[in-house]
């Protein structure tokens, strides 16, 4: 169980007890209720608390949103701790504690598939240092050299005398020792807890209704808020008539939230929402009220030919190569806005007084949530605190921007002392997203007389996430994140193909719709652009798409290895079952190498069935293989939902899709079989939550071409007529 650190425990217990006579499922997120008192147990270090009963709490700084990082990071700590895994549970340190302790837990940001790949070293050192201190404490107690003692399975043994003790018995003494400075780490080949396909630590409570999400939180005296923000980005509230709903059941207050939103606070959320729906609001729609998907597409199209662009990757002289080509191939692709559509809509519970502000919220970045709370509260961070609650999905929406936290605090500020839970409706969530950026790309390839790719130019036109969220990180008009998977090198996505004359550049065009980091980020559309175009080039050259790629990947052995793996296991080069066809894709991103082979069929009515996807991942080191497989499967649901259906369109400056009826996502009936091949080659640490998303769509699109001869260049697929020509 992951404890909700520092909940106002007594208050929560009172709520639970009041309902307990009837309810079966209200969870008591409170170790005190089980007779232990965590506050009385000193930590061995920031990462490890061992209680007298030998139970172990491992502190996890990153946020669990389904990706399994809670279990994976605990495995890394427990590995070096030589812990009895059956006694391990986890808890989140709070962002306020991290701040007060000079960031003892490092970065809390949970995105970019960085949870494990960027903290593996210091969390393992935390586990190793704690083990060394526990052993030292036991040795001191026995009056023997620590070098004669060994730790295994939470037990310390002094071999010469045969004496044993447990971590729980020496933890208090260990906590008083000076931490070691030289902390060697175990080689991954010697792992016994890390690297194993262990079950997740947080599964049981997700099967019986006991897992508490932000939307489920109940605090004593808490009120509930529903909100409506101006549907047009850049607009604001002109007026609203609170008197019209003042008498509705349960309504406590109607408040303006900043310049752009209105919220109703009521005793229950349903009553708040019902009253909000009845509230007359007049909007000042602002300068973007005429913007449409068509007008945005025109702006992006112009960017495809613009003289000015920021260069992401250049070699040789692409223009000259194209001018002198025996055969020239050109295509333009496009990728739409998409909403994250987490299953749990945005929410936060806030309590504000002139002295202190507390926020309970599902967040991918507790420290960013704290900063947002502090700013909205008008209080320094030291007087604020954020308690992280499990996320009902994150996918990037709950990381960089905490608009809902600001709103919750601004509402709570208008009701000092009263905790208020703000929950967005699905509709609010859909029209106030931080959307997958919209881009187009024009690709031009040069083939010589033998069908070799001698030149490639790729112009991306469109939105920059970084410009929208971290504009201070734009240098000379260049957003480096735009080039994920296309860069000359680096772990965020090295372009694997050796093309002698290459130019990849970006004409930044930022519509008013706010962009966000969306699971897979820019790797998603870049993989569609490059991998579908590679397929086009192979066909234009009269070559097999696998052989065409292999020749270009000769200097990129890791890219090549995953591609070869999916080709072999996916049956490339052998006849597909009747009526089916296959497509390939590969890319590198988030530190990992990934490839996919999709097998599809398209019936005479043009209906697509995705039968199977074989996917390979090389993340360097693999911490929990069965969870990596789960991430690969899950990533395909996300990636294929995007490819098949994902599209938010703009009319009159606002997003048109408000719920799952107009923003469909993939369901079980459409889910292909997935074979996940894990091929960790060691020596580096790559992410696993995102990279494989990127190969889902291009592998399927290339298979559709193989099946139908139709090349889909504008996503989503729902607009494409796949009937054979």
């Amino acid at each position: 169980m992951n404890q909700i650190a520092s909940l106002p425990r007594r208050g929560f217990l009172q709520v639970s007890a009041a309902l307990g006579a009837f309810t079966l499922g209200i969870r008591v997120p409170d170790a005190a209720a089980q007779g232990a008192a965590p506050a009385a147990t000193p930590e061995v270090n920031a990462w490890v608390v061992v209680k007298p009963d030998d139970s172990i709490i491992i502190r996890i700084a990153r946020s669990e949103m389904g990706q399994g990082t809670l279990t994976g990071l605990a495995q890394l700590v427990a590995e070096e701790l030589n812990a009895d895994w059956s006694k391990v549970s986890t808890e989140y340190p709070t962002p306020g504690q991290n701040l007060a302790r000079n960031r003892a837990w490092g970065n809390m940001s949970t995105g970019g598939s960085r949870g494990i790949r960027e903290s593996h070293e210091y969390v393992r050192k935390g586990g190793a240092a704690a083990r060394m201190m526990l052993v030292e404490a036991a040795a001191q107690g026995w009056g023997v050299p620590a070098g004669e003692c060994r730790a295994a399975n939470s037990t310390i043994t002094h071999a010469p005398s045969g004496r044993t003790t447990t971590y729980g018995k020496v933890a208090e003494a260990a906590a008083k020792l000076t931490p070691p400075t030289d902390v060697p780490l175990r080689a991954p080949r010697d792992w016994t807890i890390a690297g194993k396909p262990l079950p997740r630590l947080d599964t049981a409570e997700k099967t019986n209704g006991k897992q508490i999400y932000g939307a489920d939180l109940v605090l004593p005296g808490m009120l509930n808020a529903a909100i409506r923000d101006c549907p047009v980005f850049g607009g604001k509230v002109a007026s609203f008539d609170a008197a019209k709903i003042a008498g509705m059941p349960g309504v406590k207050k109607v408040v303006q939230v900043g310049e752009t939103a209105v919220a109703v606070v009521a005793d229950t959320w349903w009553r708040a929402k019902t009253a909000l729906d009845a509230l007359p609001i007049t909007w000042d729609n602002g300068p973007n009220a005429q913007v449409s998907s068509a007008s945005i597409a025109e702006v992006l199209k112009a960017g495809l030919e613009a003289p000015e662009a920021a260069v992401g990757n250049r070699a040789g002289d692409a223009k000259a190569a194209i001018a002198g080509a025996a055969k020239r191939v050109e295509a333009t692709y496009g990728y739409p806005f998409q909403n994250h559509a987490t299953m749990e809509p945005m929410n936060a519970t806030a309590r504000w007084t002139p002295e202190r502000c507390e926020v309970w919220t599902p967040t991918q970045n507790g420290e960013a949530a704290l900063a947002a709370a502090s700013e909205a509260a008008g209080l320094p961070p030291a007087k604020c605190e954020v308690y992280k609650i499990h996320l009902g999905g994150g996918f990037g929406r709950r990381g960089a921007v905490h608009d809902w936290v600001r709103q919750a605090v601004e509402i709570a500020k208008q009701m000092p002392g009263t905790p208020v839970k703000l929950l967005w409706s699905r509709e609010e969530d859909m029209i106030h997203g931080r959307y997958h950026p919209i881009t187009q790309a024009k690709l031009t390839g040069a083939l010589d007389a033998q069908g070799n790719l001698t030149g490639l130019a790729m112009r991306i036109s469109g939105q920059s996430i970084v410009a929208g969220i971290f504009p201070q990180n734009i240098r000379d008009g260049r957003d480096p994140v735009v080039f994920q998977g296309l860069s000359p090198g680096g772990e965020e996505g090295a372009f694997g193909y050796a093309v002698p004359n290459l130019l990849i550049d970006h004409a930044m065009r930022n519509p008013h719709v706010p962009p966000g980091f969306w699971r897979g980020v820019n790797l998603n559309q870049n993989a569609v652009y490059v991998e579908c175009f590679m397929d086009e080039l192979a066909h234009a050259a009269g070559k097999d798409p696998l052989e065409f790629r292999r020749a270009l990947l000769k200097n990129s052995p890791k890219h090549l290895a995953v591609l070869n793996a999916v080709a072999e296991r996916g049956g490339w080069g052998t006849p597909a079952p009747a009526g089916r066809a296959r497509g390939l894709a590969q890319i590198m991103g988030f530190g990992s190498y990934v490839a996919a082979c999709a097998e599809v069929s398209v019936n005479p009515a043009g209906e697509l069935t995705i039968h199977k996807i074989t996917a390979a991942t090389d993340p360097g080191h693999a911490v929990n293989p069965q969870q990596i497989a789960a991430q690969v499967e899950g990533s395909f649901v996300y990636g294929l939902s995007a490819a098949l259906y994902g599209e938010c369109t703009v009319a009159n400056g606002r997003i048109e899709q408000e719920n799952f009826d107009t923003y469909p996502v993939m369901r079980m009936a459409e889910m292909p079989a997935v074979e996940a091949i894990l091929m960790p080659s060691g020596g580096f640490w790559g992410g696993v939550g995102e990279p494989t998303i990127a190969v889902a769509a291009p592998a399927v699109l290339n298979a559709i071409f193989a099946a139908t001869g139709k090349r889909v260049r504008q996503l989503p697929l729902k607009h494409a007529d796949l009937r054979r020509a």
């Binding site: 947080d202 299953m343 409706s425 889910m671």
Partner: protein
């Protein structure tokens, strides 16, 4: 005012007639295992059993219910979280974020009541709940496991 029979007990709640059953369960009764996802019966996160039938509680007003209808939520599916589906879910480590899983399990439980040995096609046809993390394949495998193995293919 409404009288609801939830998880084997009759509870009297004070609420407007048009309040969706979901919100009565969550806010008046205090059982939060049943989730709000869309409010328009699209996603299935709010699935409960009404007399054994999987029902999307976000789109049914409490006025449609009385104490003779047996409503079961995820909290009441089994005494100790040990319904065969819950055990299979744990054995196969199905959930990711977990938010949709109460509804998934309730939909699956109703399916198994109606069809104890569902084929893959039955499962894929009947379970229409949305999961954004992408647990569908493990959900399907867990339902098969709970149903007693893999003999019913197709």
């Amino acid at each position: 005012m409404a009288r609801l029979n939830i998880n084997g007990r009759v509870v009297e709640i004070t609420v407007e007639d048009d309040t969706p059953l979901l919100w009565a369960i969550r806010e008046q009764v205090g059982l939060t295992g049943t989730k709000y996802g869309c409010g328009v019966a699209q996603c299935g996160a709010c699935t409960v059993h009404v007399d054994g039938v999987a029902t999307r509680s976000c789109s049914m007003p409490v006025s449609a219910f009385n104490e003779t209808q047996k409503i079961v939520t995820i909290e009441g599916l089994s005494p100790n979280g040990d319904h065969p589906l819950q055990k299979a879910w744990v054995a196969l480590d199905v959930p990711q974020c977990g938010y949709c899983q109460s509804g998934m399990i309730m939909a699956a439980a109703a399916l198994l009541t109606a069809n104890p040995k569902p084929s893959d096609a039955d499962i894929r046809g009947e379970i229409t709940n949305i999961c954004r993390c992408g647990t569908y394949n493990r959900v399907q495998a867990a339902i098969k496991q709970a149903a007693g193995g893999n003999q019913a293919n197709g």
